[in-house]
């Protein structure tokens, strides 16, 4: 994995990185991805994937209305809020 690839992944994950961090991660990933290569030794052509230890199917429940915490309570932890909403930096560009 080269520097550009680390930057591409960091952009996907929305994490800004310093140059020093990029160099460190490049080295770490080369090592870690190398160890992942051991999985190539296995013939997996007939093996189905599992995402979960037990093969759970969809779990349904009755749709019954219950008490919820309410927006006021949940907004108590917000870094910025406006009335009953989370406030974030401007998303839509100004028309120039």
């Amino acid at each position: 994995m080269d520097e550009a690839e680390v930057k591409r992944i960091a952009h996907l994950a929305r994490i800004a990185l310093s140059d020093e961090e990029i160099q460190g991660l490049k080295k770490d990933f080369a090592d870690i991805l190398g160890h992942f290569r051991t999985l190539d030794k296995l013939d997996l052509s007939k093996t189905p994937p599992v995402s979960h230890p037990f093969r759970l199917k969809n779990v349904f429940r009755e749709d019954i209305i219950k008490d919820s915490l309410g927006s006021e309570r949940l907004l108590e932890n917000a870094p910025a809020k406006n009335r009953s909403m989370f406030q974030v930096p401007q998303v839509i560009e100004n028309k120039s």
Binding site: M1, V6, I9, A10, L12, A13, R14, I15, A16, L17, E21, G24, L25, D28, F29, D31, I32, H35, F36, T38, L39, L42, L44, T47, P48, P49, V50, S51, H52, P53, F54, L56, V59, R61, L69, R73, L74, E76, N77, A78, P79, A80, F86, V88, P89, Q90, V91
Partner: protein, 473 residues
């Protein structure tokens, strides 16, 4: 005043019926924390919460890993990005503990978001091992393990995604249980790897672990992965004979990676079981060597998705540098997340990204299938498996911090139980040449914690190694 030192919950049970004694126990722990925690850094915050109800855990003081939500308390996962977050609700396990009369004493240190095997990635600094302050307590529930080992509480709750309860329990000389996937509700546990995470107890005896699991286990409509399977009376099976039970020794767990002074303790543990009349069966879990790479594709992939919620919008830190939305996300996560958290999120993002998904994530899910088949096959032949919990005793602080793969390998014997979902317990079985604790791990088939408790209790009663204590100032 009663002698509370290093007492188990079951030993304290009759004493704690008296409210005054329960208060005295509380003060005893608070005083120990005040005196010894500055050097150990196992406890992040102290508090007091109790329902006053009587139940299975009346008056028993607990510390809680800092990734389990306690209503009205700050919960941070030892990360800068969650500092200041006050939980608006209780995790289901907390409701159950309070319902059964337990007392919450505070919260324990951990690796940031449970990413680590040494408790060194915490934004609050590392926890030290009570047996030797130059060594780590293991992780990620290192604060919980060190706190039980140092007698800061009677029991603690931890979470185990790849060994995070059992490995620190082993390295601190206490008992640690990872229940079957689906046995205990994860509602209110901050998610790391959702197909792997389980909450479980850290305690000073197998009996206490059984007592605690009986209190926290069971189906919860708030966690759709908790399964509606009957919870047996675990206390009732303790003391039953293990004569004739078949114990599997998987050869892959006794290779060159295992330190000789750990191996000798495990061999002795196996001999104790033989004297108790178990039948040893040599077995193989052929895909064991693939466990670490498989896990380090799957767990970071799930983590990268779960941690997307920490974006500076709803709770916790928001970077003050940003002017627009995208740079707000980028800077918040840059400032709020530590080195290992970034490493794992990026690794997982990579494994799930377009063009690499088949090569990494899909492949790892297929290998996981093989490992589930290994365990299914082996549990047709035996009732229980016995292995080391960790390949070595507690390693030194800083020893593995610059070599991620070396750190990941310290979970090599614990990860398979998470990938296959089976329950596993670590029980003290002796000391290394350096006088550091060694744990023996028992695994049983899914939802058969009863066999696990029966076997490990029989071992503990004969070995008496759970009563080894660190020499603290």
């Amino acid at each position: 005043m009663s002698d509370f030192s290093f007492k188990t919950a079951t030993e304290l049970q009759s004493t704690l019926r008296d409210t005054k004694a329960a208060e005295a126990l509380d003060s005893y722990y608070k005083a120990r924390i005040e005196k010894l925690n500055p050097s150990l850094n196992a406890v992040l915050r102290t508090g007091h919460m109790a329902s006053g109800k009587k139940g299975k855990l009346s008056g028993v003081p607990f510390l809680i890993k800092d990734n389990i939500c306690v209503k009205g308390w700050e919960v941070t996962c030892a990360s800068r990005i969650l500092k200041g977050f006050i939980s608006p609700y209780h995790a289901t396990v907390i409701e159950k503990l309070l319902e059964e009369g337990a007392v919450l004493l505070g919260q324990a240190n951990m690796d940031e978001f449970a990413f680590g095997s040494s408790c060194e990635t915490s934004c609050y600094g590392p926890t030290k091992n009570p047996w030797n302050n130059a060594h780590t307590p293991g992780g990620s529930s290192g604060g919980s393990a060190a706190a039980v080992s140092a007698d800061f509480c009677t029991m603690a709750l931890g979470s185990d995604t790849g060994g995070s309860i059992r490995q620190p329990a082993s390295l601190c000389g206490i008992v640690g249980l990872k229940p079957t996937y689906g046995r205990v509700s994860r509602f209110g546990l901050v998610a790391f790897g959702s197909s792997l995470d389980q909450i479980g107890p850290l305690s000073r005896s197998v009996k206490d672990a059984a007592l605690c699991l009986g209190a926290i286990a069971g189906f919860d409509p708030k966690d759709s992965t908790s399964l509606d399977v009957k919870v047996p009376d675990y206390m009732a099976v303790l003391g039953e004979s293990v004569k004739g039970m078949r114990v599997g020794i998987p050869k892959e767990y006794f290779d060159d990676s295992l330190a000789p002074d750990v191996k000798s303790q495990i061999d002795e543990a196996i001999q104790i079981l033989v004297k108790e009349g178990v039948e040893l069966v040599s077995v193989s879990l052929p895909h064991t060597r693939y466990a670490v790479p498989t896990y380090y594709v799957i767990a970071p992939s799930e983590a990268s998705s779960n941690l997307a919620r920490f974006d500076g919008v709803k709770y916790g830190l928001r970077s003050q540098k940003a002017s627009d939305m995208i740079s707000m996300y980028n800077s918040t996560r840059e400032e709020g997340l530590g080195r290992e958290a970034k490493r794992r999120i990026l690794l997982g993002t990579y494994a799930l990204s377009s063009g690499y998904y088949d090569e990494y994530y899909l492949k790892a899910m297929r290998v996981r299938s093989k490992m589930v088949e290994d365990f299914d096959a082996v549990f047709k032949k035996v009732d229980c498996l016995v292995t080391p919990t960790s390949p070595t005793g507690a390693f030194k602080l800083g020893e593995k911090m610059n070599d991620p793969w070396a750190m990941y390998l310290s979970d090599m014997y614990t990860i398979s139980a998470n990938l296959s979902g089976v329950p596993a317990i670590s029980v003290p079985c002796g000391l290394t040449a350096d006088g550091l604790p060694v744990g023996v791990q028992f695994m049983a088939k899914a939802f058969d914690e009863a066999s696990l408790f029966k076997m490990s209790y029989a071992f503990e009663s004969k070995s008496k190694k759970s009563s080894l204590r660190p020499k603290l100032a």
